[in-house]
């Protein structure tokens, strides 16, 4: 077993050796939705966490992350005063293959891969008059209750394009636009009607990551 690991390390090390691994914090703004209705509008949220970029040479690298990210939905009625919003906070691990074209000080990148996330917390906010805003914790239902239950694990596809700037001394600042497309509905119905609505996470994220060379 130890021998296998050694072989693996010997194969990977020369590839990694072409450039340096970078890690760094990231933060961004999400524009999310879970379904389409006559009332749905983009729901805004935050994302923050950390990223690691492991280069393999030739502009190819693998980027992994651990992020706390807010998804959910927002519905409004007659303007923005009457609304209903779910903020669903997920702990998310994306893993992406990345291709970077490097220029003087600037680089352009595109990456794609998958993510796995866990719905850790939820909260509703709603108002019927624009003044009295009601906040409620989202209560998870792990077993079917009235034919409904929550699905807290999500898995999906993710793609991103962006630009980075490396003339900052010790690090690289990357600006990215990402789209995450959930493949697992956040809810399950025991006897789904023909017009059943399944909530699937769809998120655009604009983020900044500051990569530091290890």
């Amino acid at each position: 077993m130890k021998k296998n690991y050694l072989v693996l390390i010997l194969i990977i090390m020369p590839l990694v050796g072409y450039s340096q691994i970078t890690v760094g914090p990231k933060m961004g703004v999400n524009i999310a939705s879970q379904f389409k209705s006559d009332f749905s509008v983009p729901k805004y949220g935050f994302a923050y966490g950390a990223a690691i970029d492991i280069p393999f040479g030739g502009g190819i690298s693998v980027q992994g992350e651990f992020v706390v990210t807010q998804k959910g939905y927002r519905e409004i009625y007659k303007g923005d005063e009457i609304f209903d919003e779910l903020t669903a906070t997920y702990l998310e691990i994306p893993a992406m293959a990345k291709y970077t074209i490097t220029k003087v000080n600037w680089a352009y990148f595109a990456q794609g891969g998958v993510y796995w996330s866990y719905w850790s917390k939820g909260s509703y906010e709603s108002s019927t008059d624009g003044e009295d805003i009601k906040s409620e914790d989202y209560e998870f239902t792990s077993e079917f209750e009235d034919g409904f239950k929550d699905v807290r694990s999500d898995f999906g596809l993710v793609g991103e394009v962006g630009v980075s700037y490396d003339n900052l001394g010790s690090g690289v600042l990357a600006l990215g636009l990402r789209y995450s497309h959930g493949l697992v509905a956040t809810n399950k119905l025991e006897s789904p009607p023909a017009d059943a609505v399944y909530n699937l996470n769809r998120v655009f994220t604009i983020s900044l990551t500051y990569f530091i060379y290890l």
């Binding site: 524009i31 006559d38 009332f39 509008v41 983009p42 805004y44 519905e75 409004i76 009625y77 007659k78 303007g79 923005d80 009457i82 209903d84 074209i101 220029k103 352009y108 990148f109 595109a110 509703y124 709603s126 019927t128 009601k134 409620e136 239902t141 209750e145 009235d146 034919g147 409904f148 394009v161 962006g162 630009v163 636009l177 809810n187 119905l189 059943a196 609505v197 655009f204 604009i206």
Partner: protein, 153 residues
């Protein structure tokens, strides 16, 4: 090839970022004719009170009746009411008196039941039966229901 990829990536990045910013700034105003947004749902009883004495659904034994109750108000203004004994009533619903009353008109029997809407929120409908039930010995009983929507609608 590298130059072409570079140009393509640059263009796609800029276009996507611009599209996201434009869609993010947009304020969408939706005008719909009625307040189905709140009320056209399937509701169940969360709590009810008789003459002010509150009883919560979770405190009751399964045989104590209210858990099977459902009131499905559809957006075509028809409704289906499933009673605590499993029988079903159907008809039309309406909001009257400046949206302060919910009226259920039963198709088969021709009966009409009126509820006073105490509060209507996105996930709570608080109503009082307007024709309080009369009892010869104890007088009129006031019935108040707090309904919550069935999830996954």
């Amino acid at each position: 090839m590298k130059k072409y990829l570079h140009k393509t990536l640059q263009s796609v990045s800029l276009c996507l970022m611009l599209a996201a910013l434009i869609s993010g700034c947009e304020t969408q105003e939706i005008v719909v004719p009625e307040i189905e947004f709140f009320i056209a749902k399937e509701w169940k009883i969360d709590k009810f009170s008789i003459n002010g004495k509150v009883m919560e659904a979770s405190e009751m034994d399964p045989g104590d009746l209210i858990s099977p109750y459902r009131l499905k108000l559809k957006d075509d203004f028809t409704f289906t009411q499933t009673y605590i004994d499993g029988t079903i009533g159907k008809g039309n619903w309406a909001l009257k008196a400046g949206f302060s009353q919910l009226i259920l008109s039963f198709t088969n029997s021709g009966d009409e039941i009126s509820y006073l809407i105490n509060t209507l929120e996105v996930r709570q409908l608080d109503v009082t039966l307007m024709q309080g039930i009369k009892d010869n010995q104890t007088g009129t009983w006031d019935y108040r229901y707090i309904l919550v929507p069935i999830r996954g609608q």
